[in-house]
Point group: C2
Chain length 414, copies 2
């Protein structure tokens, strides 16, 4: 069986994702598709719109055969770490290829850029430090350094584009991990990654879909034409049973509690709280009535919004520097946590089982792992927005819930 | 001016308190009365029914001249530490006497017991350890040791009674601090300390009054005959403006967050989390939907309910062992924080000001003190039950609010 890996958040699964999935299958001729998907908190440092279980259902009912959770230790990190963890899981599951969306759309440009950066690493790093010294954020400094390095070459990869950056790190991780994964890419079409407005195509960015859902809570009809039918049904079902979608404002009380009931030195132990930010956090929180107000006041040229949101996520989940650095330093996942599978996916797992070196977890009860503790804590935090008994049920099901099973012939969950 | 000190919680100020106050004034012939009062969290390890500011108003309008906050570092502790902090403040304010309520009602019995315990300290401590070894809680073991020591003497002080225990520690603290405070006591009449039922006298326990207020939220009429008119008005005002009284269930979400988003070793750093309780906390919290359910499941013969509630308060306020032990080891307050005063109280403060060695704080903005940080954090936590903007206003006013001033001639707040 020819296997393809994709790296996703599906927040929520929309027509653009379906297009990418269909094209990736066509391009690679894959028989089975594995998605490594972020859990309850995402790379931009925010809670997912709906839980990982509902997003797993969206994935399975739209053509994914196996959904595996990207551990929190990678999912809520900058592109380089996010990519390393993702690639380690797809390699671990013996995928033949990985296909990612990019603004560039041509894999050779990525390979060429990796070679160029390998050759000029020292010069690049010096330039990055120089731009940081000028007050730029790390991602911006990296982009500027890269532009400077390549200003006189025929280099065409635009590393200011978010999906090109991710793609670059996927290919780099494949090299570093000496993985046999074959990378390929598909050009992203339609709406830009962060485009907040709808247009007249059936493709809208996840950002615009989420924005719409929050602006018109309770009325999901307007996003219907941008998502597959199954996604629409699952969104409606979530709203009906859970009551609302998840957003940062739901967790603002807990963040306020965390920040105002910690000493500056306790805050400084949290991952990503760097360079005196601890005092700024306390000072800013005292004057902020909403998460948005807090973030707006916290923002400086020095840090991107995303970087600060990730820091807030780590504050919320009480993720400390020492633990995070210890856990993510290997750049590889310690386990493969199954969230769901189709019949085809299940068959594939049987075939490769003996070759897989990482433990495949169907349930997490009884497993000892600092990396896994973070995922459990992320779910505990994510569930706290609900009243009892829902939140306790969610916390307990994190341990007991088996992977979701899907019969793709019937189109039904088992 | 002859000055009298009382040590109070006024949760809320009721007819029994008024009786004690009137009798104490009569007995000591005092011109001015100073109350050292617990802040937002109380000795039984629970949030006060209404804020310290409203309780200050209750005190002033019922005959107290100066209200000073007992710092969190003493207010949420066992009798011995609670008493030390309280006595240090009354001594610091040059009080001539202190008068406390007790089941015993005769100060000579307290003095005699102190002498007996001084003589037999070693034997007593051995007996305590013996009873703890048999699985008794510390307070129960102390009572039993004391009973055993005195079984053949004519000792009459019953140290199983809560107010006798407190009184014993007040007198002991006066001795230890070589204070010139003259102790006296008045026999408590009417309802017992913990009596949850009303009877036909105008005196009901604070416990029964609180229970009634929570059982019939929004209907405070039934407690009217047990509290002075000003208390009744202030309770009504609080309910109207703040929306509800404070109870542990209001903070259960935050406690759940604290416990389920901490590692066992982080929990073990919290004051009063002893002897493997950290794992029991996590395990029990996972299965509990309310604070009451949590406490009931947590309770063992080894610990009293109060001891466990105090531990929960320290978890809630993130009070760590090292800080608490460091701050409370001196057994004396570092400052005198004024919450309110009458004209007479203000006059008294002017008279004694030059003799007072501790700093008298009218506002806390800009003051550096670990002990004071705990009080501020207690208010931050206490305020979190409200939605914005109320909670932020409360947090900010902790820094900016001057002491409440009361004109006793007019019966009006200034």
């Amino acid at each position: 069986m020819k296997s393809l890996g994709v790296i996703v958040e599906y927040n929520p699964f929309h027509n653009g994702h379906l297009f990418h999935l269909t094209e990736s299958k066509r391009k690679t001729g894959a028989d089975v598709v594995i998605a490594v998907m972020s859990g309850q908190f995402l790379q931009r440092g925010e809670p997912a719109l709906v839980s990982k279980w509902t997003r797993t259902k969206m994935a399975l009912s739209n053509g994914i055969d196996i959904v595996v959770e990207l551990p929190y230790a990678f999912a809520t990190q900058k592109a380089e770490v996010f990519a390393s963890g993702s690639i380690s899981i797809l390699s671990g599951l013996k995928c033949d290829s990985v296909c990612f969306g990019s603004e560039q759309g041509n894999i050779e440009d990525f390979e060429q850029t990796i070679r160029l950066m390998d050759d000029q690493k020292e010069k690049h790093d010096l330039l990055v430090q120089e731009f940081i010294g000028q007050g730029y954020s790390f991602p911006r400094a990296s982009s500027l350094a890269f532009l400077k390095l390549t200003e006189n070459s025929d280099q065409v990869l635009d590393l200011t584009k978010p999906n090109n950056i991710l793609g670059y790190h996927y290919v780099k991780a494949i090299h570093e991990q000496k993985s046999s994964l074959q990378p390929s890419t598909i050009e992203r079409t339609g709406a830009g990654y962060h485009d907040p407005e709808f247009n007249d195509t059936p493709i809208a960015s996840a950002t615009s879909i989420r924005k719409h859902l929050f602006d018109h809570s309770g009325n999901i009809e307007k996003v219907q034409r941008f998502v597959p039918e199954k996604t629409f049904d699952l969104l409606g079902h979530y709203l009906h049973h859970v009551g609302s979608f998840h957003q940062w404002e739901d967790y603002f009380s807990l963040l306020k509690y965390r920040i105002l009931c910690s000493t500056p030195s306790e805050l400084a132990e949290i991952y990503e709280v760097e360079e005196g930010l601890e005092n700024r956090l306390i000072h800013t929180m005292k004057e902020s009535l909403t998460f948005h107000e807090f973030m707006t006041k916290l923002k400086t040229k020095r840090y991107t919004w995303t970087r600060l949101q990730r820091m807030c996520t780590h504050l919320l989940t009480n993720t400390k520097k020492d633990v995070m650095l210890n856990v993510s330093s290997s750049k590889r996942s310690e386990y493969i946590r199954l969230l769901g599978m189709s019949r085809r996916g299940q068959h594939y797992l049987k075939l490769i089982k003996k070759e897989v070196e990482l433990p495949i977890l169907s349930k997490v009860s009884g497993v000892k792992s600092h990396m896994l503790d973070m995922d459990i804590r992320a779910t505990n935090t994510y569930a706290l927005k609900f009243p009892e008994p829902t939140r306790s049920e969610w916390m307990l099901q994190e341990f007991s819930k088996p992977p979701i099973r899907y019969d793709e012939a019937d189109g039904r969950f088992l």
